[in-house]
């Protein structure tokens, strides 16, 4: 629904139809018209919603504009009743109107707009790809908080965050703590982390108030069988990666429909079109930080006074994009992000 600028003050009649006009007169005015304005006399007086709905149902195809005493909180009622635009009053804040148009997405009942009622959405089983595409279209340009809140709404109790507690993890985890600190955070303990990373993990967990950090370990029996000397990373990095990352993480992540990552569009050229919702290996990946640039990430560290990774030269680590180090295998692991590593393991999926 479009927001129209206030009209200049004038005593000239503007041709708007008052909301208390009898239906028959409104219908007569609509015949052959390509634009109608309905003026609400008071925001409490909801007659205009019925007038618009009836005109639309009876086939009026011209433009329909709402004017008069209206609140931003009525934006979606107007839109759903078939209005194309609202004429704002002098002093109205378009941002409030835009916010109110975005706030409610779920509708139960059919009306004169394109929103698909829940009844039909329930019946038409949406594939994961369709769901991700729908959400991505809606939240493509939204800020990280909005994306993450939407992800929690869409996948209640079936969502987790992946984190290696790497150089930029604090930003992503801080965001998570704001939305729901009880969300499971899957930390892959490869057995190859530096102690500093483990202590950083504990410090950040406490500082942010995260209550559900789950340590994901390689299967002990598999490790004993496949890498008894603990040196496979040297001889066969791909196999090492499979043993220590791909399989344990796959097992842990299977309990969820959606996984949150800390990936960002700017980190690599291949991520220029990184979606905020996408499907990877049969699961939805949510990338709430996709739209942040390096400066914004830096700003979040500063604004929220987030602790830096003890091993990281932050500036270098966070801004340089480059290929993953050879010993970490290639892009086969789930949810993994490329990035230079301060240690034997890369900063992985942040």
């Amino acid at each position: 629904m479009r927001l129209l600028d206030p009209l200049p003050e004038t005593d000239e009649p503007d041709g708007a139809i008052p909301g208390d006009t009898p239906l028959a007169e409104v219908e007569a005015a609509a015949v052959g018209a390509n634009r109608l304005t309905i003026r609400f006399g008071a925001f409490r007086d909801g007659r205009g919603f019925s007038l618009a709905s009836i005109l639309r149902e009876r086939g009026y195809g011209g433009e329909l504009i709402a004017a008069g005493d209206l609140l931003p909180d009525q934006a979606r009622h107007l839109k759903r009743s078939g209005f194309d635009a609202v004429r704002l009053n002098a002093g109205a804040d378009p941002a409030e109107w835009r916010a109110m148009l975005a706030v409610i997405d779920t509708v139960y009942q059919p009306a004169s707009d394109v929103a698909v009622p829940v009844w039909h959405r329930r019946a038409a089983v949406e594939t994961l790809e369709q769901k991700a595409a729908r959400l991505d279209a809606r939240y493509r340009d939204a800020d990280p908080e909005t994306v993450l809140a939407a992800a929690h709404r869409e996948f209640p109790g079936r969502i987790a965050q992946l984190s290696s507690f790497g150089a930029e993890a604090a930003v992503s985890l801080h965001l998570l703590a704001q939305v729901d600190p009880a969300t499971p955070v899957l930390f892959l303990d490869t057995g190859q982390h530096f102690l500093q990373t483990l202590s950083y993990r504990d410090k950040l967990t406490a500082r942010l108030g995260l209550t559900n950090v789950k340590i994901v370990l390689p299967d002990a029996a598999e490790r004993a069988g496949e890498d008894p000397k603990n040196d496979m990373w040297r001889s066969d990095p791909d196999a090492c990666c499979d043993l220590r990352k791909v399989r344990p993480l796959g097992r842990a992540a299977a309990a969820y429909d959606a996984l949150i990552t800390g990936r960002k569009r700017y980190q690599a050229t291949t991520r220029e079109r990184l979606a905020v919702f996408e499907v990877l290996d049969g699961q939805v990946r949510v990338n709430p930080l996709a739209n942040l640039d390096a400066d914004e990430v830096e700003a979040r560290f500063d604004d929220h006074d987030l602790p830096a990774h003890p091993l990281a030269d932050q500036a270098t680590l966070r801004s340089v994009a480059g290929p993953a180090p050879a010993r970490c295998g290639r892009a086969r692991m789930p949810a993994r992000a490329a990035g230079p590593a301060p240690t034997r393991w890369s900063a992985a999926f942040t």
Partner: protein, 551 residues
């Protein structure tokens, strides 16, 4: 019972986000109180005499134990340790802080509850028969249809700014336990052509200053057309209802002014041009919702229960409670138990947090995790084995919840009145308490048999005084509280408005006057006649005499 899926969850969380923002804008001054008012009302928030009041919806009165437990938790943490069940089967909290409201709504959402549309000029919580799914009288369980109406009416784009509030009730038996004829729209499930579900539709009922009994507008609207028909009624009302006078804005005034036939024509005109196929609930969606209300797995039991029969003989208090508070059930060996929230001298409908916990546990152990709120301001355990009734009673008894007065004269329906409400002219709670103390003798109450007393603190009639067998209305006479008495009202399938007997009485005279009227009934009743039958036979005159005898 119904369980949320991701869509229901999404809608409620979106609504909380929206309301949280509205509270913020009110607090920082971007919204005036005038602008905030309709928005907070649609989220169940009133400004009362002393504080904000939050009204939480109990859709069609059905709860599980986790929900009742959560209601108790909210009473304990955010209020003064109790809540008040209303005649719309909702619960009210009288002392929440405005800043706590988003947190409360978030906690409610955890157990699939909300306060959406519990006030404001929109479609309110749908009510139904408290024994739905348990009584052997019903054609089918009405609650799936209530749930369908709940979903259809939630945040309706066209009907959120109506001339006035709009209440709908649904029943599925000839006996009306939901007072459908006092509603803006009353729906009775009947068998239509080919045995399909159809709705007998009543419209234009209402209480308040100008009470009306609803009239039949359609004998049998097919189930698949129900939402289209409701839309047509609401559309006619939204366009034609009065907005110039708040006391004349309900649909009852429009229906009375046009006459039922002219109003029917308006509705039919709207009905013809609706896009019916859009409003036709898909078959698989109807089946999905009905599946949630499938009967619980009742055991196959004999009609009689040894433990129950023995307890009846052993304990006269239990026997009395069983006689008055236990109702017949469709499944042999089961019963529905009414938990009276009307102890002697208590506040009708009030319940403490601890009592809510107790009933939640009983529901989980003994009633397939279900508990109901009745519009009479009581709770019901709908599906209890006769074998278990003695233990249920002992637990209730230990927590002050076993008052054996269901449907008797002290089972008073009352609004909160001037103790809380900013609209009231007079207090209703102390008058109800005085009556309940004066008539506390249960032998006397049982001798009287079923009598409903209703009490409202003002003409808005939240205590349904117009349709009480005996009604009491608080009025303001030159700054003093007086009470007007009516007799002969009835909320059921023979709905009628009570007749005012004469000039109003001071508070202390109300209970003695009612007692005199009751004694007159005992003196003149025929064999087997209930109080309301006697009033219908004799008219109000004998009771008028008795009420003013001493004056």
């Amino acid at each position: 019972m119904y369980r949320y899926d991701e869509f229901d969850h999404a809608l409620v969380s979106e609504r909380i986000a929206e309301f949280t923002d509205q509270v913020r804008r009110r607090v920082d001054g971007r919204l005036t109180e005038d602008q905030f008012k309709p928005l907070r009302l649609m989220n169940g928030v009133y400004l009362q005499l002393h504080a904000y009041m939050l009204r939480v919806a109990v859709p069609y009165g059905t709860m599980n134990s986790a929900q009742l437990k959560k209601l108790g938790h909210i009473a304990r943490v955010y209020d003064k340790g109790y809540g008040h069940f209303t005649t719309r089967t909702n619960i009210q909290y009288n002392w929440p802080a405005l800043s706590d409201l988003p947190a409360i709504l978030t906690e409610l959402a955890e157990v699939e509850m909300h306060a959406i549309q519990t006030s404001g000029n929109c479609i309110r919580n749908v009510t139904t028969d408290v024994f739905a799914g348990a009584t052997d009288e019903e054609i089918e369980d009405p609650r799936p249809w209530c749930e369908i109406i709940r979903q259809w009416s939630t945040i309706h784009p066209e009907f959120s700014f109506l001339p006035r509030k709009f209440k709908i009730a649904v029943i599925a038996s000839e006996t009306d336990r939901a007072a459908i004829r006092t509603h803006d729209v009353g729906l009775q499930i009947v068998r239509g052509e080919n045995g399909e579900t159809a709705f007998r539709v009543f419209v234009g009922g209402g209480q308040g200053r100008l009470p009306h009994i609803a009239q039949e507008i359609a004998p049998a609207v097919p189930g698949r057309e129900l939402l289209a028909y409701l839309t047509a009624i609401l559309r006619a009302y939204n366009l034609l209802g009065r907005r110039d006078n708040i006391h004349k804005a309900r649909i009852k005034i429009l229906v009375a002014a046009l006459g039922i036939d002219a109003f029917r024509e308006e509705v039919e005109r709207q009905f013809e041009t609706l896009r019916h196929e859009d409003l036709r609930i898909p078959d698989d969606e109807l089946a999905r919702i009905q599946a949630y209300f499938a009967p619980p797995p009742f055991e196959t039991l004999p009609k009689h229960s040894g433990p129950f029969d023995r307890a009846l003989l052993a304990d006269p208090d239990f026997a009395r409670w069983s006689r008055n508070n236990v109702r017949r059930h469709r499944a042999p060996g089961y019963a529905s138990a009414i938990i009276s929230l009307k102890p002697v001298g208590g506040v009708p409908g009030d319940m403490t947090a601890d009592q809510m916990d107790v009933v939640a546990k009983l529901a989980r152990r003994f009633s397939f995790d279900e508990v109901r709120a009745a519009y009479e301001q009581n709770l019901v355990l709908p599906h209890v084995k006769l074998d278990d009734l003695p233990e249920v009673w002992r637990t209730l008894h230990a927590h002050g919840l076993a008052t054996a007065n269901a449907d008797l004269v002290t089972d008073v329906i009352a609004c909160p009145g001037l103790d809380y409400c900013s609209l009231a002219n007079a207090r209703s709670i102390p008058v109800a308490q005085a009556l309940s103390k004066r008539l506390a003798d249960l032998d006397f109450q049982e001798k009287l048999g079923p009598i409903r007393v209703n009490m409202s603190g003002c003409i808005n009639a939240c205590g349904h005084h117009h349709v009480g067998h005996i009604g009491v209305l608080g009025v303001d006479r030159k700054g003093e509280e007086f009470y007007q008495i009516t007799v002969g009202g009835s909320p059921d399938e023979q709905a009628a408005l009570g007749e005012i007997v004469g000039k109003s009485l001071p508070a202390e005279d109300v209970a003695p006057a009612i007692e005199r009227a009751l004694n007159r009934y005992l003196a003149i009743r025929h064999e087997g006649e209930r109080f309301i039958d006697t009033v219908r036979r004799t008219g109000a005159e004998p009771f008028r005499e008795a009420i003013y005898e001493a004056a």
